[in-house]
Symmetry: C2
Subunit: 153 residues, 2 copies
Amino acid sequence: MRHPAQIGVARVLSLRTRGSMKLITRDTDYAVRALCYLAKHRERTISVPELVKALEIPRPFLRKILQLLHNKGILKAYKGKGGGFSMAISPGRISLIEVMRVFQGQFSLNECLFKKECCPRRYSCGLRKKIMEIERQALKDIGKITIGNLARD
Amino acid sequence: MRHPAQIGVARVLSLRTRGSMKLITRDTDYAVRALCYLAKHRERTISVPELVKALEIPRPFLRKILQLLHNKGILKAYKGKGGGFSMAISPGRISLIEVMRVFQGQFSLNECLFKKECCPRRYSCGLRKKIMEIERQALKDIGKITIGNLARD
DNA sequence: TCCAAATGATACCATAATTGTATCATTTGT
DNA sequence: ACAAATGATACAATTATGGTATCATTTGGA
């Protein structure tokens, strides 16, 4: 009679140890903070130094983030002395999902499933349908969250 | 009169270019494939070589994945000639979420929000609540998908 | 008994993503 | 003219991802 090999005690086999799936990366997070700040002070033009002070985000990183938001048309930018950034769109019309897309790319639950027509794996189409439905719903919900909402606390 | 700086044309500022958020990583995907195969042949013990042939997954990587599934108590392992792996639990009781947790760690939409009590950022509690609700729902849905489901196609 | 075939444990490694820094050019208000 | 701001872009450190490789151990069977 054959018996299964014993299960080891708390031995960590690595292969993803400390990781934890995070849907929102740091740059998205910073971007949201900055956008909220700008949304709360729409009357003024806000400079990077001010944002750095208020939000405690590393300066060069924040600059890059703001530049990208500007290039994407989400912010207006004013160069020169007294310059800075301001919202280019109403905060209520900027959803979290858009910000996520700027910094994290398109959403796709599992790349593997999308390569090759309908995937050579038998199981995948079933999984794909279900997963896509979940994704669709989550996107819809995240889409409802706007900078406007968040800025109002 | 001051006017906003112009928006550049299709200039890519890097800071996440080709990335696309994927919720299911390759090892989870491989694990699911392997589990489905095992689920479909519960009567037998399946060896790595057989799985490699059937699923076209790189051998050493698959071995590591199976070992981890074994250590987590999801698979039974038989050493020695004629050995291999088999399900330790009913496929219907292994949900996708568990497999994801094994390979991708705990789910957490945004780490930043969880560090420091309730976060020094004003906006975050609002965001956190909404995001957590979305997360909760998605987890619930993913939890409903089991290896049993998937193996049945 | 010995060997081949299997897993167990673990160390290593290449590439890409993440999270930044640093620098120089340009614009603009005073 | 100068200082203060953004624009563009190159570089860099750390971690995650997706693997390889190696040696030890177990086990069935000739």
